[in-house]
């Protein structure tokens, strides 16, 4: 008890009555969790995700990773899975929008972002998918292409792509737009965009409190 300078009640007071203090403890537990997650109140689910998509995404993420592990430090880290919402589409291209809560980690720093998507190809077929990263520049009204990644796909299944710093920055600012472009309409139809368990997603590894860090220039 810092204010009175007296002893703490846990040490010298009467034995704690669990039942009478149950509500207080539950309230304490709730506040503690929300506080540590940098949330003011419990989230209300605006766009519920199907259990199948959730199950698949978690299963994919549990698979062994091939990229080099990130340097670990003591700050709290998060992994965020954002499921795609499909936007403007044409014959051979589809726009994917991913939303991230910039508040989730109290000013988050995205350290790694991976796109995962599913393609269903006929056997002995190879397709090239161009993945384009689009960002909205300050004071601009249209999205600008910042980078693109050609990906050779030669089998059906889940495919992943490590996205670069532009995409990581977009995630940390709350919104990432990608465009999947294929050479032909046939190839485009092989990208599964809205299947319940095959919905594309971005998995981001995030460090909390990124905006509070000071960098030397």
């Amino acid at each position: 008890n810092l204010k009175t300078g007296g002893p703490c009640p846990a040490c010298w007071g009467a034995a704690f009555d669990l039942e009478s203090q149950r509500e207080l403890l539950l309230d304490l537990a709730k506040k503690s969790i929300l506080n540590k997650l940098h949330l003011r109140q419990r989230p209300t689910l605006s766009r519920p995700v199907s259990r199948a998509a959730l199950k698949t995404a978690l299963w994919r993420l549990r698979a062994p990773r091939q990229e080099t592990p990130l340097e670990h430090d003591q700050t709290q880290e998060y992994e965020i899975i954002s499921f795609a919402e499909t936007g403007l589409s044409s014959i051979n291209q589809t726009r994917l929008d991913f939303h991230f809560s910039a508040r989730t980690a109290g000013g988050m720093e995205v350290r790694q972002a991976r796109l995962m998507f599913f393609m269903q190809l006929p056997s002995n077929t190879t397709e090239t998918v161009n993945i384009r990263v689009l960002v909205l520049r300050p004071y601009a009204t249209n999205l600008t292409l910042t980078s693109q990644y050609p990906l050779q796909v030669d089998a059906s299944g889940w495919h992943q792509l490590l996205l670069g710093p532009e995409a990581q920055l977009a995630c940390s600012q709350g919104h990432l737009t990608l465009e999947l472009v294929t050479k032909s309409q046939v190839a485009h139809s092989s990208v599964i965009l809205d299947g319940f368990s095959h919905r594309p997603f971005v998995a981001a590894r995030v460090r909390a409190g990124g905006k509070h860090r000071v960098r030397r220039r």
């Binding site: 040490c11 034995a15 540590k36 989230p43 689910l45 959730l54 965020i80 499921f83 989730t104």
Partner: protein, 116 residues
């Protein structure tokens, strides 16, 4: 650390589990099903103070008791029953954009208590 049992008034760890279904949080917290919060409660007489747990042996208790007896006017409550071991809570939850977030919140689960 010692777990609280019956009418013990000495410093101990009281188990306390928060069931997310019971508080209506099971819709946004995917895993786990609850939070084993636990807390420390009980008295810390001076002869058990300064150790990372309740007296390790009869001998250390006696030595500490001697220290207390030789200290003049040592009636104040400087020692607290506090967590000595804590572990993180792993959470998988939906954020407000219905993204799925996995994180380990450090120091959330009290594993053991002792007198400061």
């Amino acid at each position: 650390g010692v777990n609280c049992q019956g009418g013990s008034k000495m410093c101990c760890r009281q188990e306390f589990f928060v069931d997310f279904r019971e508080i209506g949080w099971h819709d946004w917290i995917i895993q786990p099903e609850g939070y084993a919060m636990n807390f420390c409660t009980g008295q810390c007489p001076l002869h058990v103070a300064g150790m990372p747990g309740i007296s390790a042996s009869f001998h250390t208790a006696v030595l500490n008791l001697l220290k207390v007896n030789t200290a003049a006017g040592s009636t104040g409550g400087g020692s607290c029953c506090v967590p000595t071991v804590r572990r993180p809570l792993s959470l998988l939850y939906y954020d407000r954009d219905s993204n799925i977030v996995k994180t380990d919140i450090p120091d959330m689960v009290v594993e053991a208590c002792g007198c400061s």
